[in-house]
């Protein structure tokens, strides 16, 4: 038994027989929350809610049956604005993290596989980008190009990719010496083939986990920008809502509290769901390819 077990332990990512407590209900709850958020974002137009931009004659109304979360200074329904705000929050999250993961995986895997001077140059590049302060860059870009969603996503993505790249690089370093990669190389596979077909699919899991954390960060950064008035003015943003509510904190605290809670829950859920996502999406068990004849 021993020899077999040791080999298994060394060469396989462990698949726990019974999932540990830490990976239990909290993570499952987080996944449910994230799934709900996606549903809400997609279904926003179909929900029977007042228009998020429609003014009414009830400014600063407290939560009531008509307006569950109250209204803002223009009489707009807060719940509706939070629901529509989910869209921009998730858009920023997915867009930024997507850029971060794609750039990070591409450069990190090349650095790890190529080694030598290519690795040296790329690794130094990661280090340089890692110390660029994202927020000030954003403020600068917003000032230069005007505040818009693509600019926000691009800047967040381009300042967070080095962490993806570093993880990918070290993952690639361990996978490139694995026997199954050598076997594919001996069968004639070139570097790009090996990376795309064997290394990246097996090595990407922790990068994606890291990506979900980036999503949370992106939402917070976007909120911070909007709070400063540098967000995309045409979108409904939780950060902007908190900013607007600031002036009315005394009499109408709901204006800030509800978007704040929405943001907290979303960021927390994204961070907690990270690991479990990987298990669900990328575990080898689920990836049984259907064989084409």
């Amino acid at each position: 038994m021993a020899i077999d077990e040791v080999i298994r332990a060394k060469s396989q990512t462990p698949t726990p027989v019974v999932s540990s407590a830490a990976n239990g209900w909290i993570n499952r709850a987080a996944i449910v929350v994230v799934a709900l958020l996606v549903v809400v974002a997609v279904a926003a137009p179909m929900l029977q809610l007042p228009s998020p931009t429609g003014f009414s004659d009830q400014p600063l109304a407290p939560p009531s049956a008509g307006h569950v979360m109250g209204t803002d200074q223009f009489g707009r329904d807060i719940l509706s604005r939070i629901v529509w705000g989910t869209r921009s929050a998730l858009l920023v999250a997915v867009g930024s993290a997507g850029i971060s993961v794609v750039v990070g995986v591409a450069l990190g895997s090349i650095a790890g596989y190529a080694g030598g001077w290519i690795d040296d140059i790329l690794s130094r590049t990661f280090d340089v980008f890692l110390v660029v302060p994202a927020f000030f860059l954003l403020v600068l870009m917003a000032a230069l190009f005007g505040p818009s969603m693509p600019v926000v996503m691009a800047v967040i993505g381009l300042t967070t990719w080095p962490s993806s790249a570093r993880i990918m690089r070290s993952q690639t370093l361990t996978y490139r010496t694995r026997a199954f990669v050598d076997a594919a190389r001996a069968a004639g596979g070139g570097p790009l083939y090996l990376l795309a077909r064997h290394i990246v699919p097996n090595a990407i899991a922790p990068v994606i986990t890291n990506g979900t954390v980036t999503m949370g960060q992106a939402i917070l950064i976007e909120a911070g920008l909007s709070y400063l008035g540098l967000g995309d003015p045409s979108s409904i943003s939780w950060g902007r809502m908190i900013f607007d509510g600031q002036k009315y904190l005394d009499g109408a605290a709901w204006m800030s509290i509800f978007p704040g809670v929405a943001m907290l829950v979303t960021v927390l859920a994204l961070n907690l769901a990270g690991d479990s996502f990987i298990g669900a999406l990328l575990g080898p068990r689920r990836r049984r390819m259907s064989r084409q004849r």
Binding site: M1, A2, I3, D4, E5, V6, V17, V18
Partner: protein, 333 residues
């Protein structure tokens, strides 16, 4: 061996909680280890030999437990002890274990000498630093290392040297029994032989009893007086090593021996132990080895054979049948 054995294990049953309910990994295994004796436990992956060793040391993983049976060391009932009592009185002090992987789990930032010193002081707090230091040097020389090596870090030592250091570590509390679980498996043959010689020397000098757990029949043959052959959680054959190897009485042992390439004798095509038939009843009532056995008859599929309670025994309805040897190679010896 007229005096009673040091360690007696009687019908030990160990189970694991598997995905589909509890599974018996060790099924009614009995063993007697005399003072200064060397007993071998041989089996392949999944035979339960390592589980047996872990159960004796109370090192089973969380989802494993001892279901029934008894284990006594001298007059002490090992299974009646609490974990705390066992840890204080037995583990390391009376019985210690050397693993295959241990040589790769030495603390990399500690010189091996210091590691040993701390281990000795941990087990015997009355020792002064210089006394402990002397014990360390003694142990180091006993396992075939040089005193200069005490100042080395694990990565500065070869695999063989590290395994020797691990053996020294297992001896710090002067145990009576050392369980060697695949202790030489990762090493080259020549180094392996040196380490086995060292273990035998320690047995002579310190009166150690050795339980050698291995998948490698050659290792068992080199050092063990007696051997137990495990298959699917059960002992299928036991007896004096030389006799078991020369006259295997169980088809599994015979098949295993016949499948080994040797340096002597004429070359012949090696037989393979492969599945010949499926269990007709679809359950596991009969002999566990029947699906692989070329001699299986109706009785083998319906009644599981017993292991006779004798020194030389095989769990087979046809134990000792001349066909068992003939079914495999002609020149196994």
């Amino acid at each position: 061996m007229t005096n009673p054995p040091l360690l007696t294990v009687d019908r030990l049953v160990v189970s694991y909680q598997g995905a589909a309910g509890p599974m018996r990994a060790v099924d009614n295994v009995s063993l007697a280890l005399g003072r200064g004796a060397t007993v071998g436990l041989v089996g392949e992956s999944g035979s339960g030999k390592s589980t047996f060793a872990l159960a004796l040391m109370r090192l089973l993983p969380r989802h494993g437990w001892i279901e029934s049976g008894s284990a006594t060391l001298g007059d002490t009932d090992l299974l009646a002890m609490t974990d705390e009592e066992f840890r204080r009185a037995i583990r390391w002090r009376a019985m210690s274990m050397v693993f295959q992987s241990a040589m790769n789990s030495l603390n990399p930032v500690m010189r091996v000498g210091r590691l040993l010193l701390e281990a000795i002081q941990f087990h015997d707090r009355s020792l002064s630093r210089s006394e402990a230091g002397e014990r360390v040097s003694e142990l180091f020389v006993a396992v075939g290392l040089r005193k200069e090596d005490l100042r080395r870090y694990p990565h500065e030592m070869s695999g063989g040297m590290r395994q020797r250091a691990v053996i020294a570590l297992s001896l710090v509390a002067s145990p009576q029994i050392v369980i060697a679980d695949e202790a030489t498996t990762a090493l080259d043959v020549l180094i392996q032989d040196q380490i086995l010689l060292t273990l035998l020397e320690l047995r002579e000098k310190r009166g150690l009893s050795l339980l050698v757990v291995s998948h490698d029949i050659d290792v068992i043959a080199k050092v063990c007086d007696e051997v137990l052959v495990m298959y699917a959680g059960r002992i299928v054959e036991q007896g004096p090593t030389a006799d078991v190897l020369r006259n295997p009485a169980h088809p599994y042992t015979a098949g295993l021996l016949a499948a080994l390439p040797t340096l002597r004798g004429r070359k012949r095509r090696l037989p393979a132990l492969s599945r010949r038939a499926n269990h007709p009843a679809g359950d596991a009532r009969g002999c566990r080895f029947a699906p692989l056995c070329s001699l299986a008859e109706d009785i083998c599929w319906s009644i599981e054979p017993e292991l006779p309670d004798t020194k030389r025994a095989a769990r087979c309805h046809f134990a000792g049948d001349s066909r068992i040897r003939d079914a495999f190679a002609d020149d196994v010896s």
